[in-house]
Amino acid sequence: MVGSRTKHSWQPKLVTLLGRVVTHGFLLLFSAIAIIPFVWLFFGTFKPYRELVSSSALLPVDWTLENYREIFTRLYFGRAFANSLILATASTLTTLLTSAATGFLFGRYQFWARDTLFSLILATMMIPGTLTMVPLYIFISNLGLVNSLYAIFVPGLWSTFGCFLMRQFIADLPVDMFDAARIDGAAEWMVFVRIVIPMAKSPLAALAVLTFLGSWDGFMWPLIVINDAKKYTLPLLLNSLRSLYWSRYELWAAGAMLTIAPVMLLYIFSSRFFIRGLAVTGK
């Protein structure tokens, strides 16, 4: 009896075990494909040019920091890094503020034509950036902002997706919270700062990740409005590296690594947070 039971159950067990091994193997393979290029890049930045283009070995034989030194001396790398950091930080902070405020307004207030106005705001999500690109360029150059970081910053003051996200969240918060605070005589901006913002921490955090990465990565629009090498953001600097130093792969490697590094460091410590933040875009 016992024997037959074990005989019955080992077969599916083996099948599930086999299935599990295959699944893990498959996922390990894909994880490796996703990660190995970065590992190669990391070690590549410490290789001299000749080794970088000829050696199959992952680890450098001749460790060197020359590539990093050169990228800082030959190009305005430090400045591009600072520009990107300033731009991404400023964009993130303003987007959080405008999204939370607009979300609060449309999620909590009653006023004439509220829903129509909000639909008009949301409708802009369906407009591809290319349609407004040329008129925006004309507008920005009439404002005299070409070749300044404001040309990138100002058109992103409000994020439609951010407004949408925050409105959804704030509209679902319990009404009592707001009324209680108002009865206590809190001014409206106090309600906003003391109640709305702390309660909306998690969608705000997701939005912060999204906005920061979006700004850090922005390429097409900065390419159009920035020509001055001193005003370059990191993606523009990498692009110029490609055209000005078209075969200096060791410089490319160092530049790419330094652009990736801050985001990757943050990601290693809080990948779940990033994933949750970015997954809200489509869900």
Binding site: L27, L105, I121, T132, V134, M264
Partner: protein
């Protein structure tokens, strides 16, 4: 009679006035106006005015020195875009890109998601690895792959040679360049779609599976009869997002191949960019943008129609 009417309306007007004053003086109103006015001004100047301007530019021969002297050319700009020697080429390339992306990304993202959903242990780890390329800068990834895929000195060809496998010229070959670019772009973005599909799968309530198990559905039957139809919505969403993203592809081909070799990777957005900002032909560029807008808007409307009723957070 008349005085009576006056007496009746007068207090009403006063009441309306008082009510208006009360609203205007309320802290909510002041706060609301402080937020609403700049929001509306921003959306007018940075969205709606620009959209209208985009429509206007598409029928003008724009005079950069003196915009007021721009000539009305009707549909001339559309004609000039469609007769552009790279128009058909770029449309074809862009559609091929979308199609290839569908073929690569949808099944692969599906298989990876299914594998992830069946696991309890290590799921976070694999997810984090597969999602990593999506997080990092596209320009850095583009440079990285341009190095790796270099026909002569690239690591990938060296690796293939070491294994005794045939090598490819990748980005330097007219036939391989486009699939290579799509491969790089898919490598970069697949993690995002995997996260979406996995989230969709894990949201399927356990009770449905229990009920199915009672009915004797397990393994593949369970997958095809229950999991698959239930995540069809997520699949649809992924497909639509993929279509919208790939139709606007620019950076990958601009950085990795500059549209070459022999325009094999020349994308629609590159045509648009070159017309607008290299040749400063704002009219034809706006016409080209309008054509693209129509296609993407149609896809977005389709998305709303199919997905909106069940849209939730």
């Amino acid at each position: 009679m008349q005085s009576q009417v006056r007496q009746e309306t007068a207090p009403t007007l006063a009441a309306i006035g008082a009510r208006a004053r009360r609203i205007i003086r309320s802290p909510q109103f002041r706060f609301g106006i402080i937020i609403l006015l700049p929001t509306l001004l921003f959306y007018w100047f940075f969205h709606y005015k620009l959209i209208l301007e985009g429509f206007r530019l598409s029928v003008l021969r724009y005079n950069i020195q003196d915009p007021a002297k721009s000539l009305f050319v009707g549909l001339g700009n559309f004609e000039s875009v469609m007769k552009h020697h790279l128009f058909m080429k770029s449309v074809g390339n862009t559609l091929s890109w979308s199609l290839l992306s569908f073929v690569i990304v949808l099944p692969l993202a599906m298989i990876i998601s299914i594998s992830l959903a069946t696991l309890e242990r290590m799921r976070q780890f694999y997810q984090a690895c597969i999602f990593l390329p999506y997080v990092v800068s596209l320009l850095a990834v583009a440079l990285l792959f341009k190095m790796l895929l270099d026909a002569e000195v690239g690591q990938v060809n060296r690796f293939l040679r070491d294994l005794g496998l045939p090598t490819s010229r990748f980005l330097a070959s007219t036939s391989a360049a486009l699939p290579t670019l799509v491969g790089v772009a898919s490598w970069k973005r697949i993690g995002f779609y995997v996260i979406l599909i996995t989230a969709g799968m894990l949201n399927i309530p356990e009770e449905i599976y229990d009920a199915a198990l009672v009915d004797g559905a397990r393994g593949w039957t369970r997958f095809w009869k229950i999991t698959f139809p239930l995540i069809a919505r997520t699949q649809m969403l992924v497909g639509i997002l993929l279509a919208i993203a790939t139709l606007q592809v620019f950076t990958e081909s601009f950085v990795l191949t500059e549209g070459g070799p022999a325009n094999a990777t020349y994308m629609y957005n590159m045509l648009l960019y070159n017309e607008a900002f290299m040749k400063l032909r704002f009219g034809p560029a706006s016409a080209a943008a309008l054509l693209q807008f129509i296609v993407i808007f149609a896809i977005s409307m389709f998305q709303l129609k199919v997905l909106e009723p069940k849209w939730e957070y």
